[in-house]
Symmetry: C2
Subunit: 256 residues, 2 copies
């Protein structure tokens, strides 16, 4: 680890979102900051990358950092662009967020914020996605500031297992109500969804996705949902291996 | 299982791609087919969903199916739209593909094809993503036709574990060279990438993502990459749980 670690900061709410402003300011206490983030909101873009069109980057001056670019692509594009083009090397730490809204449970697979962290881990860098369970644009990120500092500091001190990043979610409670940090697994849950149908002025239908999240195992105490409901910050070690290892022996009929 | 199962077919190359035409024709031998697929190519969109804009669907008549819609969104949007709006119930089987190109190893997280299958599993339906390791638009999908039939038939017969779908990749070899099916895990690998810089007619730079895939464990014989290299169709049981379960005990310092 060099004297001053090089920290890449990105997000999915776009480079002008309050959450990334806050995170880059906190991160600057620990190293040199490079911000490469989407030039517009990219919530729900998951692990999308731009391959059917080209990308652009634009120098910006919104964060007080030496190197700062808005990128026309997704959060994952931003990480690839930072590592392979702008830096041409691996940063010492990749931070994504702070997301305006939860990325716990199944939300991790839809999340551009967490996909950027997963991509950072794939690039071989210790990576952390931070999310606050508050969708408001004027959400209060300072409540968990000391915990965010702690997680960044400890992640710079300790080696992270190869290919693993952290999914950190912060409950929407006051600072004095935060009980601490729990290292937990992703809860089984899903969205119960519907499409709201509307008509445009020309009589044609269009649809908005709507839904409510349901935790399928509210009784389990080792999940991110439990931690958040009970006033803890949840930390889920997260990886890009989607293999259902427990199910590998359930499909032997295919091989016969 | 009803007499005639209801099978949803989708993909990420778009509703007019040869791969989905082939898959819907094969699937029609096993049940009633509903096609809901993107109205344009959506490769590399991963698990993206459309939440910052609305969606449209348009009846089409390209496949010989009773219900067929082109959707303005991503592959995952297509599954949500089919289940929650068009059908208003869970299909008996979700098939995605056949993708023009490999979705083995780490490609699974970038793949719209596989994200549609993962979404199907989240909706509680047995789901399979098929990919042929040939990017050509005139690729020969018939070489593996009998294996695709076998996998569909056996997946309708056997119960699939909850939340698990299948990532099926087919090597680019002649029919008589196909050795069979291997149930394997996702290989550890990644893309070594760079951005090709170009200038538009106005002197501004733009970038194309380029890269080559590297298998980090070419010696391992229990991976999808090994199966494909050795003439087998790879079947990887796949799930939406990104928790690095083996790493859960490596971060106890956060809780102290």
């Amino acid at each position: 680890m060099p004297e001053k670690p090089l920290i890449l900061v990105t997000n999915d709410d776009g480079i002008y979102a309050p959450g990334i402003k806050f995170l880059s300011e906190v991160a600057a206490r620990f190293g040199d900051i490079l911000v490469v983030a989407p030039d517009k909101p990219q919530s729900g873009t998951g692990h999308a990358i731009t391959i059917n069109s080209s990308l652009r980057i634009q120098k910006t001056n919104y964060h007080n950092t030496e190197i700062e670019y808005a990128c026309s692509g997704t959060p994952v594009d931003c990480v690839k662009m930072a590592v392979n083009h702008i830096l041409k090397k691996r940063p010492d730490l990749v931070l994504s967020g702070v997301n305006h809204g939860s990325n716990s449970s199944v939300n991790v697979i839809y999340s551009g914020t967490m996909s950027a962290a997963v991509e950072g881990a794939l690039e071989g860098a210790p990576s952390i996605g931070f999310s606050l369970c508050d969708y408001a644009m004027d959400a209060d990120f300072t409540q968990a500031e000391k915990f965010i500092e702690q997680i960044i500091q400890q992640s710079l001190q300790h080696k992270m297992p190869k290919g693993v990043c952290l999914n950190v979610n912060i409950p929407k409670v006051k600072a004095h109500e935060l009980k601490g940090i729990k290292v937990v697994r992703q809860a089984h849950g899903n969205w119960v969804e519907r499409f709201q149908e509307r008509q445009d002025p020309y009589g044609r239908n269009y649809y908005w996705l709507m839904g409510e999240f349901v935790n399928f195992e509210p009784e389990a105490t080792d999940t991110d949902e439990w931690a958040l409901t009970n006033g803890y910050i949840s930390v889920v070690p997260t990886q890009a291996d989607l293999t259902a290892h427990n199910a590998l022996n359930k499909f032997s009929y295919f091989e016969q």
